[in-house]
């Protein structure tokens, strides 16, 4: 059980390249399940490895339970890590793989055996204890890697994309097992992934990273509802939020956003700090858009259907709006009868629209004071 605090944590591998992780400020509470989420190469693994003690810290401080551990070697930090490759010792049996970390801690033999047996029980590995890793399936290896961490009963668990080498079905079941494990152990866990479904389902909070920096930290649904900038808005959600370049204009009823021949009225408060004529980005989630059913409908936007993807429960419709480069994605009901080439209307709920400043940060979130640290 432990609080992990990152203070301006920075890692620079070499001077020629930009920092792999820069000025990362994050506090992971005791017993929290924190997910580091971001595209490949954004510095998640680097950050995790600095916490583990496998990578030196260029600047900033890392504390565990208030004690600065920058210079404490990995072996003395009492942290366990599950690697993406599992990193099982190929020359040892499942039992020895799990017991290896305990042996070095001079624990009595009986207790080591007890712990290994308990962990094997939880993970359903009891019948495989004498096998070597090469004789295990991918899912079983993954469990051994989990078991090796559990037996240690460490202060902090670190996971680096532990599910990315599993097939889709196994990934879903293992995901819920990891969630169950967290509920059972109530331990502090930091989990790295590029998969937003894992992040949304597992995280007590998620920390979204972009190019070495933290873009936003918060509870999954808060981040989803109030993305702090266009990066988070475009990254989270499947399909992601539609981002449309627009211009602020004064209208008789208040303010509206124009893009091409289209105009959308948005709550005045969201554009209040901006002058008329400012460039902004309008953010519309696909699920907040709907195809207008008939021509008499007072649809807000009009465009031409480019692609139709029926997924069963829903149908994704991409609509080309005049003078806008990227088609807008609309989440339509599964039964929708829309065909490519149709000219359709799109209804939208202006109160669900997001407005982003030209520098990318959200006017909506700023307005709601919803940025969390």
């Amino acid at each position: 059980m432990a609080v992990v605090t990152l203070n301006g944590l920075t890692k620079r591998y070499d001077r020629a390249h930009p920092a792999a992780a820069e000025d990362v400020d994050l506090e992971v509470a005791d017993g929290e399940f924190m997910v580091l989420l971001g595209p490949s190469g954004c510095g998640k693994t680097t950050t995790l490895r600095m916490i583990a003690g496998l990578e030196s810290i260029t600047s900033g401080t890392l504390s565990i339970d208030g004690r600065v551990v920058n210079d404490v070697p990995a072996r003395d930090r009492d942290i366990a890590m599950v690697f993406q490759s599992y990193a099982l010792y190929p020359h040892m049996s499942v039992r020895d793989n799990m017991a290896f970390g305990l042996r070095r801690r001079q624990m009595p033999r009986a207790e080591i055996e007890q712990r290994v047996r308990d962990a094997a029980e939880i993970l359903g590995l009891s019948t495989l204890m004498d096998r070597k890793p090469h004789a295990l399936s991918g899912g079983q290896r993954q469990r051994v890697a989990l078991g090796r961490a559990i037996v240690r009963d460490p202060k902090v668990f670190l996971f680096d994309e532990p599910l990315s080498n599993l097939d889709a079905a196994l990934r879903v079941s293992t995901r819920s097992e990891i969630a169950a494990l967290h509920r059972r152990l109530q331990a502090t866990m930091i989990y790295v992934t590029h998969d937003q479904v894992e992040a949304m389902t597992l995280g007590s909070r998620i920390c979204i990273m972009n190019a070495g920096r933290i873009a936003q930290v918060g509870r999954p649904m808060d981040v989803y509802r109030m993305p702090a900038d266009t990066f988070v808005a475009g990254f989270l959600g499947n399909p992601p939020m539609n981002l449309i370049p627009a211009t602020v204009t004064d209208a008789p009823g208040g303010r509206e956003l124009r893009f091409g021949p289209n105009r959308v009225e948005v709550p005045a408060a969201r554009t209040a700090p901006l002058e008329a004529g400012s460039a902004v980005t309008l953010g519309l989630r696909p699920e907040h858009l709907a195809p207008a059913l008939d021509a008499s409908d007072s649809a807000a936007l009009w465009g031409e259907v480019v692609t139709v993807e029926p997924l069963g429960a829903e149908t994704l419709v991409r609509v080309h709006l005049p003078e806008i480069a990227d088609p807008v994605i609309v989440r339509a009901p599964g039964e929708s009868e829309v065909a490519i080439g149709d000219r359709i209307g799109i209804r939208l709920d202006p109160s669900a629209a997001h407005v982003f400043h030209a520098d990318g940060h959200s006017m909506t979130a700023a307005h709601h004071q919803a940025r969390r640290g």
């Binding site: 990995a74 072996r75 690697f83 099982l88």
Partner: protein, 272 residues
């Protein structure tokens, strides 16, 4: 079609086996015949079989001494070269430090020098350190000449061990020293075994350094012992053959014992 291909392959393999094993079988036959029998007919089968030539060589020609000397020098050298080589290879493969590649390259480039180039200066050095004509001196020379190849083979294998494995061991609480012994070395066992066999066979048969650096009868190794049957005026072919067979036996034992591992090591493309 397939039968035809297979029989061609078999024919080639048989021809090669005869070519490779023929001289060995011939020497084995000679080892059981006396020199006068051999002079009558070079290729006759041993009849009667003179098994007594083996104890004769062992007890009356100092073979027991040569054999023990060879065993001491070669086993000692192989142990040392394996340990030093594995540690060096592990460091060069795993740690990033300045001059890493340069050290590796300089070490490896010594392979290109033929032994004749270094032997005079080696002789001088050993005399200077009082190691000339001693088993320890020969052993150290053997370690030095086999080290580059050993490091070369092991380094490429160590470099293929995934770094995550070492990181996992660090997280499990082990020091770098313990990680070498408990993770790196066991995982690299197939490659280590390969170098053990290779070094053992090469050094067991080594003649050039031994003949230059050892003159004392009590310190001679087996290859020098065999040479003793070649006199100034006559050669005792029969005893040379017997001596050869005695010398080959340990090589066969080592090879048989480790051969499965050797094949593993040579085919171990991927560390799982």
């Amino acid at each position: 079609m397939r039968v035809a291909t297979q029989s061609i392959v078999m024919a080639i393999l048989c021809a090669y086996t005869m070519f490779a094993a023929g001289p060995f079988v011939w020497a084995a036959m000679l080892s059981l015949r006396t020199t006068s029998e051999i002079h009558l007919d070079h290729f006759a089968l041993p009849d009667p079989m003179h098994w007594d030539k083996y104890p004769d060589a062992w007890f009356n020609s100092n073979y027991s001494i040569y054999f023990m000397n060879s065993l001491q020098v070669v086993v000692g050298a192989v142990i040392l070269v394996t340990l030093i080589g594995a540690m060096a290879a592990h460091c060069l493969a795993r740690y990033r430090f300045r001059l890493n590649r340069i050290i590796y390259f300089v070490l490896f480039s010594t392979i290109i020098f033929p032994p004749q180039v270094t032997i005079i200066s080696l002789f001088q050095i050993l005399v200077g350190y009082g190691l000339y004509n001693s088993k320890l001196g020969l052993m150290l020379v053997y370690v030095a000449i086999q080290l580059p190849l050993t490091v070369y083979i092991l380094e490429s294998f160590f470099a293929r061990i995934p770094a995550d494995l070492f990181d996992a061991a660090r997280m499990d609480g082990y020091s770098d020293w313990a990680i070498f012994w408990r993770v790196a070395l066991p995982v690299a066992m197939p490659a280590v075994t390969t170098t053990v066999i290779l070094n053992f066979i090469l050094l067991w048969n080594e003649f050039l350094f031994a003949v230059v650096l050892i003159t004392d009868e009590a310190n001679r190794t087996l290859p020098l012992g065999i040479q003793r049957f070649i006199g100034d005026t006559q050669e005792d072919i029969g005893m040379i053959a017997t001596g050869l067979m005695i010398a080959i036996i340990p090589v066969i034992v080592v090879y048989a014992f480790f051969s499965e591992k050797l094949i593993q090591g040579m085919t171990a493309g991927a560390v799982k």
